[in-house]
């Protein structure tokens, strides 16, 4: 398992692995927002938590089609499926590698982009906390979407259509935590809901991902 994780991480960090693309995308989306809505700092600070959440979500979505497709193309996915390791742990490791290379950098970059959008000071802490709890769910759900569309030639757009509705609960509760944190309101309820969704998806969704992957590899 650890060998697989290390292999995925190495592939991601190597040239052409696409590491950093998600980060750059996050940066660009955030920079484009003031061009679209105008530079008033009061308006920007109101919408900053939501925009940063949406930007992180889109950056995460963008990297999903590489998650399993590359391994599918060169056949290593078939090898992994026949390996003694259960397919459930393979997809969990894949999701973990995706989170480490995409989700975690987004979490770390978010406060710096928050400065650009004039995020209120108390909001920084809750933005990082909510993203830290919410992004693993996005990786796990995304792995399910990638497993569904892995055999398709043009699965990229379909993948977004399938995955985005599944992101709705995570986005609602995550952005709510960040927004409430920015206005210094009580955050406990949405934070617990967000954590619950993340825990449940991590616990249950790998079984669904492995099931659809088996169907696709049949």
């Amino acid at each position: 398992m650890i060998a697989l994780l290390l292999r995925d991480l190495k592939l991601a960090f190597r040239a052409g692995g696409g590491f950093g693309l998600g980060l750059a995308f996050f940066l660009i989306v955030t920079v484009m927002v003031p061009f679209a809505v105008g530079p008033q700092s009061s308006l920007l600070s109101t919408i900053a938590p939501g925009v940063l959440w949406l930007g992180a979500l889109l950056a995460c979505l963008l990297s999903l089609d590489r998650l399993l497709a590359l391994d599918w193309e060169d056949g290593s996915l078939d090898l992994l499926a026949t390996a003694p390791l259960p397919l459930e742990s393979v997809v969990t490791i894949k999701a973990l590698a995706h989170w480490l290379t995409t989700g975690l950098p987004l979490v770390l970059a978010a406060p710096f982009l928050g400065v650009l959008l004039n995020l209120p000071v108390p909001g920084f802490f809750w933005l990082v906390i909510s993203l830290l709890i919410g992004t693993p769910a996005m990786s796990v759900i995304g792995t399910f979407g990638a497993a569904l569309t892995v055999g398709l030639k043009r699965g990229g757009l379909l993948l977004s259509l399938l995955v985005l509705p599944l992101y709705v609960p995570t986005l609602i509760f995550g952005a709510e935590v960040a927004r409430r944190g920015a206005t210094e309101m009580e955050v406990q309820t949405p934070l617990l809901m967000l954590a619950g969704i993340t825990a449940a998806t991590i616990a249950l969704l790998p079984f669904a991902s492995a099931a659809v992957l088996r169907i696709n590899l049949r």
Binding site: L148, P169, P190, A208, N216, R218
Partner: protein, 257 residues
């Protein structure tokens, strides 16, 4: 016949031939009764009920809005059930019925959203509000779109049936989650459930309840929509079975020719 024998009799319809023969026999009944119910319900509702004292005649859109919304949700439930049957017992008719039902669900969701917007414009002063009920219907619409798109994208029919079934199961969980998430996220403008409340009928509950004058034609409309839905699903499932057969015949032709 004992209950077990009856349950076994239900599985006989997993045979496409038997399904087609029976559905063709009962289809005219469903078409005629559903159209009759919808006609009677709409005419009764539109011309023989008084206008609401506050909403005027706009209230009458309820005869399309409520049955369509009801069928939009129940269509997904039916797809969930048939997907489960496909995953557990591998009956092709079941998977094809789920496929046949999805576009009907899309149309029902659209009817509910559009009639709601048409009613909302004069009553709430807006076509659209981010109310939990409206929002969750929009999300349901997106789930339907993804489901149909996945069916269309995969060539191998059995793989497509498997994948869409799993998507339907996972999607159901997330659709329910989204329903509660949007409830939490915004306060509602849409009225609560106000058609089938027993306490309101007997008068012990003074909250808003659709008056019985409007309720009876509405009930006829709902029955009509249910029958129409059954007729459409049977009809479309028959079409899917025939399309599958044509494909098989053509494949056989290619191999032998």
């Amino acid at each position: 016949m004992s209950i077990a024998a009856k349950a076994n009799a239900l599985w006989e319809y997993a045979n496409p031939r038997k399904f087609l023969a029976t559905s063709e026999r009962v289809l005219p009944f469903f078409w005629i009764t559903s159209l009759a119910c919808i006609c009677v319900g709409l005419i009764w509702g539109f011309f023989f009920t008084p206008d609401d004292y506050k909403q005027g005649s706009t209230v009458k859109i309820i005869y399309l809005h409520v049955p369509a919304a009801l069928m939009a949700i129940n269509c997904w439930l039916m797809m969930l059930a048939t997907s489960l049957v496909w995953l557990v017992r591998r009956h092709h008719v079941s998977a094809l019925a789920a496929r046949a039902a999805a576009p009907i669900g899309i149309v029902m969701t659209l009817i509910a959203l559009l009639t709601g917007a048409i009613w909302g414009q004069p009553m709430w002063g807006t076509w659209w509000a981010w109310d939990p009920r409206l929002t969750s219907f929009l999300i349901l619409f997106l789930f339907y779109l993804g489901y149909v798109a996945l069916w269309e994208a995969i060539e191998d029919p059995d793989t497509a049936a498997d994948l869409t079934s799993v998507l339907c199961l996972v999607g159901s969980v997330f659709a329910i989650l989204s329903r509660y998430a949007v409830n939490f996220w915004n306060q509602g403008l849409h009225q609560g459930a106000s058609v089938m409340r027993a306490a309101a009928v007997t008068g012990t509950d003074t909250e808003e309840k659709v008056s019985n004058i409007f309720f009876y034609p509405l009930l006829v409309c709902i029955i009509g929509f249910v029958l129409l839905f059954i007729a459409l699903v049977l009809y479309r499932t028959g079409t899917e079975i025939r399309a599958r057969r044509i494909k098989a015949l053509m494949a056989r032709e290619r191999v032998s020719g």
